[in-house]
């Protein structure tokens, strides 16, 4: 780790001079170290290790947006550790909460969730497309990126040049709209019983 201090601090300085390649290499190395660290920590906490990559990205984005707060006169690793800690604590709290909520789902509800849907898939897809097209532009972009292309919230926020929070809020609104639309469809199909 002791030469990480030197090489990464040097890469940060190079980045400030506009050397994007050195900065990119550094981010790659940090991502590798983080990947191992995050996976270990998630496993130890009994959380889903499939979240590893998301958390790695979250830390990298935090590092990137706050890179100006590193003071070149001070050591780099303590700064990096503080950012990693801050981001991971946040994420672990969020994941634990989500895991608790999942445990609260009853077996019946699980069965319902995993049931093979009875409706016609092709039609469902066509309808999905139609409903998504009916969304306002911003919501449409977010739903496309997240749900259809499968990008992460971070990548989407970066792509649309907005914050992760804004992406989540937009997604939430879009889902509400889609739910309303879907309910309407159902009540048309089944009368008012749905």
């Amino acid at each position: 780790m002791e030469n990480h201090e030197q090489t990464w601090a040097e890469a940060m300085r190079a980045g400030r001079r506009g050397d994007a390649a050195a900065y990119e290499d550094m981010l790659g190395e940090i991502a590798n170290v983080l990947r191992r660290l995050v996976r270990r920590r998630l496993a130890r906490l009994g959380l889903d290790i499939h979240e590893t990559e998301d958390l790695v990205q979250e830390v990298l984005i935090g590092l990137h947006t706050k890179r100006h707060t590193w003071d070149e006169g001070r050591p780099f690793l303590p700064w990096l550790h503080a950012i990693v800690r801050h981001k991971l604590i946040d994420a672990v709290r969020r994941l634990s909460r989500a895991a608790r909520r999942r445990r609260d789902i009853t077996p019946d509800q699980w069965a319902m969730l995993s049931e093979v849907p009875a409706e016609d898939f092709d039609r469902a897809l066509v309808n999905l497309d139609r409903h998504v097209n009916g969304l306002p532009f911003g919501q449409r972009e977010v739903v496309r990126a997240l749900a259809i292309e499968g990008a992460s919230v971070r990548a989407t926020a970066l792509k649309l040049q907005t914050s992760e929070g804004a992406v989540r809020v937009t997604l939430h609104r879009a889902l509400q709209r889609l739910t309303t639309a879907a309910n309407l469809e159902l009540s048309k199909l089944f009368g008012d019983k749905a």
């Binding site: 994007a20 390649a21 900065y23 981010l27 499939h50 990137h64 100006h68 700064w79 992460s152 990548a155």
Partner: protein, 216 residues
């Protein structure tokens, strides 16, 4: 859930952004913070004169010992608060170690309280003086609080509540320093109790606000 490949793409994007957004470097935090603190004090003083008017005895007041005592206490606390805020802006900042920076201001306040021989009542000249005093300090500190929290947001505070409290302390101390121009209560004990209360309230508001505003 994303893949390693997506992370690599993200890294490329970030590096690309670094390359394209170069040259847009903000001035160092210390300088911005100093500027904001000076501006906050000026705005607080302007607010005090706006609210209470310029008293005809102002020149006498600013030459009096009680005014000097109030200014010394509050400005010393503001200095301590300033160091705390600067520390809070760095992700690896250790604010506990810097709590000693508040000692000079607190010592001056305590000294004023302990050696209070003015015989003035602790509650102030009239019964309504102290709520008025606390309210004024809080009120004139609010613009300062907003500006300091705004500056902290450009840093990377990893403990939002503590950082917000530090911002509130700095804002409250600056507001209290400004309020000294209008305050007619000169007892050392009065200042030690009610000025502290005003500053603490602003620090509490800062903590509450920081919890939301300083999360990232």
């Amino acid at each position: 859930m994303s893949s390693v490949k997506e992370t690599d793409r993200l890294i490329r994007d970030l590096a690309h952004e670094l390359a394209t957004r170069r040259g847009r470097t903000a001035p160092p935090l210390l300088r911005r913070l100093l500027f904001v603190a000076a501006q906050s004090l000026a705005i607080a003083i302007a607010l005090v004169f706006l609210l209470y008017g310029v008293s005809p005895e102002l020149m006498v007041t600013v030459r009096s010992a009680p005014f000097h005592h109030k200014s010394a206490c509050t400005l010393a606390l503001a200095c301590g608060g300033f160091f705390l805020v600067r520390e809070a802006a760095r992700p690896e900042g250790k604010m506990e170690r810097l709590l000693v920076a508040l000692l000079p201001g607190l010592a001056l306040l305590a000294l004023g309280g302990a050696t209070d021989a003015s015989g003035l009542r602790t509650l102030g000249l009239s019964g309504v003086a102290f709520p008025n005093c606390i309210g004024s300090i809080v009120l004139v500190s609010l613009p300062a609080l907003a500006m300091i929290v705004g500056t902290l947001r450009t840093g990377a505070p990893t403990r939002p509540i503590m950082a917000g409290a530090a911002a509130g302390l700095l804002a409250g101390a600056l507001g209290a320093a400004a309020y000294g121009f209008a305050c007619k209560q000169d007892g050392g004990l009065y200042v030690a109790i009610w000025y502290s209360a005003g500053m603490l309230i602003v620090a509490g508001l800062g903590a509450l606000w920081g919890r939301r505003a300083l999360a990232w």
